[in-house]
C-alpha cells in the first residue's frame, strides 16, 4: 500500500491538538461572555435587594416626552425618581441627561451626556434644565423673565462672583476700565430693570489673560484667580471634597443636596457608596436645608489680605447626629463670633431668603448689597406697623407660583401674605386669624411670628438693620428671643 495507508496508523497528533485548541478557545469564549457589565449590575442590585428571582433582564421605558425607548434603567435600576414633578415615565433619563438609551454599551450609552454626570452644570443647563427635547421651554427660554431660571441663576451672584471680584479690585486698586464689571464668566442682560445695574460682566479670566499679554497682569488678581475663582467659590465648580463642604455644581449645588460626608446613599448600584463626591440621593428638591447653604457660607474666612480661603479650625469634632438641631448648627455650621437670633437657628435659610435673592431676579447684581432684600421687619414689622403684606389675587400669579415651591402650603386667593420692600411675596408667611405665622419649607412646621408692635421692644422704626435687632435678640445668655411653635 502507498504511504497514505501508513499515515492512518500513526497517532493523529494534529487532529488531537486541533480539537483541544478548539475546545480551549470555546472555553475562553465563555469566560469572556460572563463579563457583560449590565448583567453584573443587575446581579449586584438583586443581591442588595433580595430580588434574585427577577434574574437579569433589560428594562426599557419609553418616556412620553421623547417617545424613544431607553434602556438606561437596566443598569441604573435602583436610581431614585428625581422628583414627583419629573416622573420617569414622562421624562425618562435622556431628556435631561442626554446620552443614548438604545445601547447597553457603557461608553456609547454615556457618549454626549450633558455635563457629564451632572446635567445641571451651568454650561449644560440650557439644554437639560432649560429646554425639553423639542426645544420647548422648561426652565428657560420663556418670554417672561421670571420663568427663565437658568438665565437668572447665571446672572446671579452665586454664579458670577461679581461682588467678590469687585471687592478685590477695589481693595487693591487694580486698574480697570471705567464702568466695566467682571465676573467668573461672560454674561449679558438685555433687559436691565434696575437702574445702575450692569448689562454685562466680562470674564475675569479673559481680563487677566489680556493683561498678561500686555505684561501688566496684577499679581493679586492672578492669585485671586488661582485661589478663589479656580477652586470653587461659585456655581461653575464643585466645592472641595471634604466633610461639611460637599456641594455639587450648577443648579444641583442647591437643588440636589449632598450629604455631610459626600456619600451616595441611594439604591443605584452603579454609583459608588464609599467614594465622596456624589449626591446623597438622585432627588431634586426646593426644600433646601440650611446645611446645603452652609457648605459655602460660614465655612471659614475668605481672606482679602492673604487672598485665600482659610478654613475654620474650630469645627467641633464632637458634633454628632444626636446633638439637638440647634447645638449641631452652632457646633458645625455657624460662625462663633456672629450673633444669631432664634429664628436663624430654627428655620432654614430658604424660609426667609427669597428666590430673588438666591437665584437672582434676572438682573446682573453687582454686589451682595444689591441682592439682599430680607429684613427682620419683613415678618416682624416695627413698633409702629405690622409686616407689609399683599393679598393674593390668584395662586397662579408669578410670585405666588415661585415662592409657592414650598410643598406644605397652597397659596389661595385672598390670603394676606408678607411682602419684601422689593415686592417679593412670601406665601409661607401668612396672617391667619390676626396672627402671623410661617410654614417652613423643609419640614413643614408652623411657627407663630411674634410682632414688634405691641411688644416691649423700643427700637426706632427707622433703624432696622439686622445689626440692631441682633444686639438684643441673640440666642446667647441675654436673649429675649422666643420660639413659639404652633
Amino acid at each position: 500500500m502507498p504511504s497514505a495507508e501508513k499515515q492512518t496508523k500513526k497517532i493523529p497528533w494534529g487532529f488531537l491538538t486541533g480539537t483541544l485548541i478548539f475546545l480551549l478557545s470555546t472555553v475562553l469564549l465563555f469566560v469572556e461572555g460572563q463579563q457583560k457589565e449590565w448583567i453584573r449590575y443587575q446581579h449586584q442590585y438583586n443581591s442588595q435587594n433580595n430580588t434574585h428571582d427577577n434574574g437579569p433582564r433589560v428594562i426599557t421605558i419609553t418616556p412620553t416626552l421623547t417617545g424613544k425607548p431607553e434602556m438606561c434603567l437596566t443598569c441604573h435600576q435602583g436610581i431614585e425618581e428625581v422628583s414627583p414633578s419629573h416622573p420617569v415615565e414622562t421624562f425618562g433619563c435622556i431628556a435631561c441627561h442626554g446620552g443614548n438609551g438604545e445601547t447597553l454599551d457603557k461608553d456609547l450609552a454615556h457618549k454626549f451626556m450633558r455635563g457629564g454626570s451632572n446635567p445641571s452644570k451651568l454650561s449644560a443647563a440650557d439644554k437639560s434644565c432649560g429646554t425639553g427635547p423639542d426645544g420647548v421651554p422648561c426652565h428657560n427660554g420663556f418670554k417672561d423673565d421670571w420663568k427663565n431660571m437658568v438665565d437668572r441663576v447665571r446672572r446671579s451672584l452665586q454664579a458670577t462672583d461679581a461682588g467678590a471680584v469687585a471687592a478685590v479690585q477695589y481693595t487693591y486698586n487694580i486698574p480697570r476700565p471705567p464702568d466695566t464689571k467682571y465676573g467668573v464668566k461672560h454674561v449679558t442682560d438685555n433687559d436691565v430693570r434696575t437702574f445702575g445695574f450692569p448689562d454685562k460682566l466680562i470674564s475675569i479670566h479673559e481680563k487677566i489673560k489680556s493683561d498678561e499679554l500686555k505684561g501688566a497682569a496684577h499679581p493679586i488678581e492672578k492669585k485671586f484667580e488661582a485661589n478663589c475663582i479656580n477652586s470653587g467659590c461659585h456655581l461653575y465648580s464643585e466645592a472641595p471634597h471634604e466633610k461639611y463642604f460637599h456641594r455639587s455644581e450648577g443648579c444641583a449645588s442647591c437643588h440636589i443636596p449632598r450629604s455631610k460626608d459626600g456619600f451616595y446613599k441611594g439604591r443605584d448600584v452603579t454609583i459608588s457608596k464609599n467614594e465622596a463626591g456624589h449626591m446623597e440621593f438622585h432627588r431634586i428638591t426646593t426644600a433646601i436645608p440650611y446645611s446645603t447653604c452652609n457648605s459655602c457660607h460660614n465655612r471659614g474666612v475668605y481672606s482679602l489680605r492673604q487672598m485665600e480661603f482659610i478654613k475654620r479650625t474650630d469645627l467641633k469634632s464632637d458634633a454628632s447626629d444626636s446633638d439637638s438641631a440647634e447645638s449641631f448648627r452652632k457646633k458645625v455650621y455657624y460662625h462663633p463670633m456672629t450673633l444669631y437670633a432664634k429664628c436663624e437657628l430654627t428655620l432654614d435659610c430658604v424660609d426667609c431668603h427669597t428666590h430673588n435673592e438666591i437665584m437672582g431676579n434676572g438682573d446682573i447684581f453687582p454686589d451682595k448689597k444689591a441682592a439682599v432684600e430680607t429684613r427682620c421687619l419683613d415678618c416682624h414689622g416695627t413698633i409702629d406697623s405690622e409686616p407689609a403684606f399683599e393679598i393674593i389675587k390668584s395662586p397662579d400669579q408669578p410670585d405666588a407660583f415661585i415662592t409657592g415651591q414650598n410643598p406644605y402650603i397652597a397659596p389661595e386667593e385672598g390670603d394676606a401674605v408678607a411682602v419684601t420692600k422689593k415686592g417679593t411675596l412670601r406665601p409661607a408667611v401668612k396672617k391667619v386669624n390676626g396672627k402671623w405665622q410661617i410654614v417652613t419649607k423643609v419640614n413643614g412646621n408652623t411657627y407663630y411670628i411674634p410682632t414688634v408692635k405691641g411688644s416691649p421692644c423700643k427700637q426706632n422704626a427707622d433703624e432696622q438693620e439686622a445689626l440692631y435687632c441682633h444686639t438684643c435678640h441673640d440666642t446667647g445668655k441675654n436673649s429675649v428671643g422666643r420660639n413659639i411653635k404652633k
Binding site: S3, G14, G18, I21, F22, S25, V58, E102, L104, K111
Partner: protein, 344 residues
C-alpha cells in the same frame, strides 16, 4: 476502505480527487488559502442567518437593533464578532490566495478561465464586505456609504443606473438600506455561491490544482489523507477565529441622529486605499478608472504570461517579470492604505 464513514465525511471526500500529487497537497504549497476562504464563507453564512433573526433593516431601528444584538442578546455580540472576523478573514485569505496563484503560476496550463472566475469572486467578496459595513448605520459607516454612493453616481452614463441598482436611488433613504441589506444577505452571496461552486468544479475539470510535475510519473497521496490534513487546518483556523471573536469586538458607533459630531470618519480597511486616492484625485479617475485598470491588469495576467514551462514553483526566476509587477501592484495598494491610516 471498509471503514464506516458518515455521509458528511463522504460528501467532503467526494469533493477531492482520489489521488493527488504529493507536491500539490503539501501545506507549504497552498497554505490552505482557498479552503480558508470557503471556511470563512460558511461561517459568515451561518452567523449571517443568525443575525437576520435580530437585525432590523430600517433606518430608524437598524443601529438600535445592532446595539441590541451587541449588548443585550444572549451571545449576540459573539455571533456578530464571528460574522465580522470571518468576513475579514475571507478578504485577506482571498487576496493571499490570489498572490499565491500568481507566484506559483497557478493560472497557467489552461487555468486562465478559472483565474478570471477567481477575480470575480474577489470582487464579490469585497462587495459583500462593503455592503455589510453600512448596515451598522452609524455615523462612520454612513459616511462610507455617502462616499460610495456619490462615487458611483459620478460614473458617466451608467452612474444613475448603477446607483438605482445597488442603492435604490441617488440619495440615502429607507430604500438605500433595504437595497444594501438585500444585496448583502441574498443577492451577492447567491451569485458568489454559484461562482464558487463553478470555481471548484473548474479546478477538477482543469485537472486539479496547479502542480510542478507534468505527465504521469508522480508521487501521490490519497484524497482521504488530504481531507484529514484539511480538517486539522480548519480546526486551527476555527480556534483562531473563536479567540479573535471572543476578545476583539469590531466598532459600533451611534446612529447619525444621535451622534452629531463624530470627528474621525473611517472607511472599512478594505477601501482605505480608495479613500486615499480620493483625497487627491477626481472621484471618477480615483474611484473608478484606477481600480478598473488594476482589475483589468489582473484579469489579463494569463494573457501576458504564457510561460507554461514553469508551474508549481514559488518565486520562479523565469517568471519574475510577470509576478514582480503584480506584487508591486498589491504593494502599492497596501502602501496607499497604510498612508491613509497614517494621515489620520
Amino acid at each position: 476502505m471498509k471503514k464506516n464513514k458518515s455521509v458528511i465525511i463522504n460528501f467532503f471526500l467526494h469533493l477531492h480527487p482520489k489521488r493527488i500529487s504529493e507536491s500539490s497537497a503539501r501545506f507549504t504549497y497552498t497554505f490552505g488559502l482557498g479552503g480558508l476562504v470557503l471556511f470563512a464563507f460558511i461561517i459568515t453564512a451561518v452567523t449571517g442567518v443568525l443575525l437576520v433573526f435580530k437585525y432590523s433593516p430600517s433606518t430608524d431601528s437598524a443601529n438600535q437593533s445592532l446595539q441590541y444584538i451587541a449588548t443585550v442578546s444572549e451571545y449576540g455580540w459573539y455571533i456578530r464578532n464571528l460574522h465580522y472576523w470571518a468576513a475579514q478573514i475571507m478578504v485577506v485569505a482571498a487576496l493571499l490566495h490570489m498572490v499565491r496563484i500568481v507566484l506559483t503560476g497557478g493560472y497557467l496550463r489552461g487555468r486562465a478561465f478559472n483565474w478570471i472566475i477567481g477575480i470575480i469572486l474577489l470582487i464579490f467578496i469585497i462587495l459583500m464586505d462593503f455592503t455589510g459595513y453600512p448596515l451598522r448605520w452609524d455615523v462612520k459607516s454612513n459616511y462610507a456609504l455617502i462616499t460610495a454612493l456619490n462615487l458611483i453616481n459620478d460614473i458617466p452614463v451608467l452612474g444613475h443606473f448603477l446607483c438605482g441598482l445597488f442603492f435604490g436611488g441617488p440619495d440615502i433613504s429607507e430604500n438605500t438600506l433595504l437595497h444594501l441589506y438585500g444585496w448583502h444577505i441574498a443577492g451577492l452571496p447567491f451569485f458568489f455561491f454559484l461562482f464558487m461552486v463553478y470555481h471548484f468544479y473548474r479546478i477538477r475539470k482543469d485537472g486539479g490544482i496547479s502542480e510542478y510535475e507534468r505527465g504521469s510519473i508522480k508521487k501521490t497521496v490519497s484524497g482521504e489523507a488530504l481531507l484529514k490534513k484539511e480538517i486539522v487546518f480548519i480546526l486551527f483556523a476555527l480556534s483562531g477565529l473563536i479567540i479573535i471573536s471572543a476578545v476583539y469586538t469590531p466598532e459600533l458607533g451611534l446612529s447619525a441622529q444621535n451622534d452629531f459630531n463624530e470627528s474621525s470618519v473611517n472607511s472599512p480597511w478594505i477601501v482605505l486605499w480608495l479613500q486615499f486616492l480620493l483625497r487627491y484625485l477626481q472621484p471618477f479617475s480615483g474611484g473608478i478608472v484606477i481600480p478598473a485598470i488594476a482589475i483589468l491588469y489582473w484579469i489579463s495576467l494569463p494573457l501576458i504570461d504564457k510561460n507554461d514551462q514553469v508551474q508549481g514553483v514559488w518565486f520562479s526566476r523565469e517568471r519574475i517579470k510577470f509576478w514582480l509587477p503584480f506584487i508591486l501592484s498589491i504593494l502599492i495598494i497596501s502602501m496607499l492604505s497604510i498612508a491613509e491610516t497614517l494621515i489620520k
